[in-house]
Symmetry: C2
Subunit: 214 residues, 2 copies
């Protein structure tokens, strides 16, 4: 009577993949670059067993692919279109749910961010310092060329290393990462001029610009 059912069932497979906060977060981490299961679990704050289980589902929905190397398995988004769709999905959800926008401003504050385009033009400007405030591991896995790695944890102690006068552009992982706004807050309290990169490293990657591994 309703032969379309299998088609909608297939469509729902993709929807289901996007239906869990844990999976969405894993996708956001992977959108910064390839990661092993262990790295993913740590960066996303999800128990390892669970991380592995959710990755199986993402793989079944063909959103990620795995590559085995020795004893560890590296996951990555299946291709660039997944990244773009993820961006569209997040944008769509944001324009739709006021609660989501509220949660974001509460989380991220309301610093006017720098766009990926603006960052690109500033890269060669000696009056700008680009600061990667993620973990050293994340930095090693891929970062904006020319960025300096200072994990947020160490930032307060290492303020002396930073040159005065230059404007600092701080970034972290994805569009919902809280780290760079925290860094900007700290920097401004100590008299630096600082702004966060809008959308984090993910936005940089999506804008088609290269990242540099270590």
């Amino acid at each position: 009577m309703f032969p379309e059912e299998p088609v909608y069932e297939q469509l729902a497979r993709v929807g289901k993949a996007l239906a869990s906060p844990v999976r969405l977060r894993l996708l956001d981490v992977l959108d910064q670059g390839e990661r092993t299961v262990e790295e993913l679990a740590r960066e996303a704050g999800v128990p390892l067993k669970n991380t592995s289980a959710q990755l199986q589902q993402l793989r079944a929905a063909q959103l990620v692919t795995a590559r085995k190397e020795g004893t560890r398995v590296h996951y990555r988004l299946a291709d660039e279109r997944v990244s773009r769709f993820l961006g569209a999905f997040q944008g769509f959800a944001q324009e739709r749910l006021a609660d989501l926008r509220d949660a974001m401003t509460e989380l991220l504050g309301s610093y006017e961010g720098v766009s990926a385009d603006e960052l690109a033009t500033r890269l060669s400007d000696p009056a700008t310092l680009v600061l990667d405030v993620r973990s050293p591991d994340a930095f090693a896995a891929g970062h904006v060329p020319g960025a300096v790695s200072v994990p947020l944890r160490e930032l307060e102690d290492r303020l002396g290393e930073l040159p005065g006068g230059r404007e600092i552009i701080a970034y972290c992982g994805g569009p919902y990462c809280v780290v760079s706004p925290r860094a900007v807050e700290l920097l401004r309290e100590h008299g630096f001029r600082a702004r966060p990169l809008e959308g984090g490293l993910t936005a940089w990657r999506r804008s088609g610009r290269g990242i540099r591994g270590l």
Copy 2:
């Protein structure tokens, strides 16, 4: 420790809305135009109670809005962006899941369809007949200007009414609607030249062209 959680929870709300075959089908019907709960239930082949329950969820995710008129409630997609996103979602799922493409060709056959653009140019061509093979109710709710309503059920009996020589473009609801391919099959068996409209009335609507109510 991981303050981003509420944000991902909100994102997942939208994902969850897309995680059920029933809801996806309801959205596809609504993408053709406004419908009451009862019409939706009938067109989608879902029990009325369940239809209502699922609509509550779609409303909570702000994908649809309701408008009360007398004793019945008319639902529609919240705005044009929902329709566009739905198209992107379906396209993304199709390019991703081979199983989905298989289910589609099994369901729809492999007639080369007419694009909405092509249909637009053909509308004024007297050598073309545009055939709406959906139910009279659906036709009344909105159709391609100039289209003739012949529900698939009646098509075989009314073949005599159709002019020979003209090419027939048959359409039904959304991209996964089986009705127009069936109609094309029937028409070709009886010697007519016929092709389906790619993506159905939904594609026509999305392409920004008007539809005519009754």
